[in-house]
Symmetry: C2
Subunit: 261 residues, 2 copies
């Protein structure tokens, strides 16, 4: 299952197994993995063997399996690399706006928070790096959706589901899809208490990645709607600076088109 089917069977299957392990609490036996993945036990056994050998999976006593040590290291590495690059930019946002700033990435049909700089106020958003949330109820999610071809956006939304997080959450696919052209045109998205009651969030795409976005969030009182048109350009400027640095390592593209695909 998963987002799967990308050319290399064994890799896709292995990924699927990891995903199942990530959901399962801890110490999952082979039989459960086989059942959940729909693969024959012998196949699961072989794949697990390989993954254990590589450290993706840990084999606990009692013949049960859990996520492995290599993930800890690589995960740290991934978020640290990105975080180190992004943090100064996020800090600049906090300087200028005062609210908690986040960098988020598209991860399958969710958004994962990759870096964060907390705002200056005592009452502030607190989102853990590594946390994964659905696309439909967050500013970053909507802004990322808007970068995608509509049919892809729809597919992701349907796949992930659109549960109501608050009374304001948009739970209808078509209504959400209808917002996207506007978001795309204006270059930012607003989450108006759709994820967390009383919390407004303003998000913009990072022009480089195509799958990255940054945002600031705070209580509605401190982020009034009429401030949005003033704040959006600030976010966009920072996003552009971050994008430049992200692509700065290598020559990279200069084409203006927002959709490299």
């Amino acid at each position: 299952m998963a987002v799967s089917d990308t050319g290399v069977q064994s890799l896709d299957r292995a990924t699927g197994l990891l995903e199942i392990l990530a959901e399962a609490p801890a110490g999952t036996p082979l039989s459960v993995l086989a059942a959940a993945s729909g693969l024959p036990p012998s196949t699961v056994h072989r794949l697990l063997g390989a993954m254990v050998g590589q450290g993706w999976v840990r084999r606990l006593p009692g013949r049960t399996y859990a996520l492995g040590p290599r993930l800890i290291h690589l995960g740290e590495r991934a978020s640290r690399t990105l975080g180190a690059l992004a943090r100064p930019h996020l800090a600049r946002l906090v300087d200028e706006i005062g609210e908690t700033a986040n960098l988020a990435l598209l991860d399958g049909d969710r958004v994962v928070y990759a870096a964060q700089v907390p705002g200056r106020h005592a009452m502030r958003m607190f989102t853990e790096v590594g946390r994964r949330v659905r696309l439909h109820s967050t500013g970053v999610g909507k802004v990322l959706l808007a970068q995608l071809p509509p049919e892809d956006a729809r597919a992701l939304l349907l796949h992930a589901g659109m549960p109501a997080r608050t009374p304001r959450t948009v739970t209808d696919v078509d209504r959400l899809l209808a917002e996207l052209p506007t978001i795309r045109a204006q270059g930012y998205a607003v989450d108006d208490g759709e994820q967390e009651t009383g919390v407004r969030c303003l998000a913009v795409p990072v022009p480089a990645g195509g799958d990255a976005a940054l945002s600031v969030s705070g209580p509605e009182g401190r982020l009034p709607v009429d401030a949005v048109p003033r704040l959006a350009p600030v976010l966009q400027a920072v996003a552009a600076a971050l994008a430049a640095e992200l692509t700065g390592g290598s020559p990279a593209i200069s084409s203006p088109g927002p959709r490299p695909e």
Copy 2:
């Protein structure tokens, strides 16, 4: 390369590529990956395509690659699961001993820190979760080596290398191997300023995992050698409690023996 060769070729190769990406600063082009892995470009291209599809790898504009968002999430997950379980036990150690306590796992030919509770003193060890260190110069490393068959231990040491971190670091394989039977017999290992000058570290294996260990570390002055025989049982008791909980999730073993393997 890597620790590789575990039955499923494509998976091993993909892992190798990720490893290379983890070392490379950011935005690595395909050609570099092909060269570093020794694989033909077309193969690398296909594997990367699959990994991008699964979120293991991010494709930056400018045709360059970096570690992907899925790693951030899974890494968090892996360390959080373990960390949540281990932290109360580590906290108990800090309560009783006062020094920073760590949980570490064997990760290939290194040790990765998986959880940490800082000690009560102002001057204290500071080790980042996710950090990877060599086996030969740390208490946890030595205690993990002692759990292994000597030939495996030797292989890991030779593979990782044994650079001197301090004047006290043991840099000779045979001298280190000679320590292991003692460590194994007494059930703990001491790092006597071998990793960091002036820092002593006491480590014990977690009987369950076989590949987990916990430790306390502090300045030599606060962790005198003659306190070790008194402290070791404290660590061992906590390790046993942690082990019980680790295996507790599923029915698992009930045998009292410290070595289920």
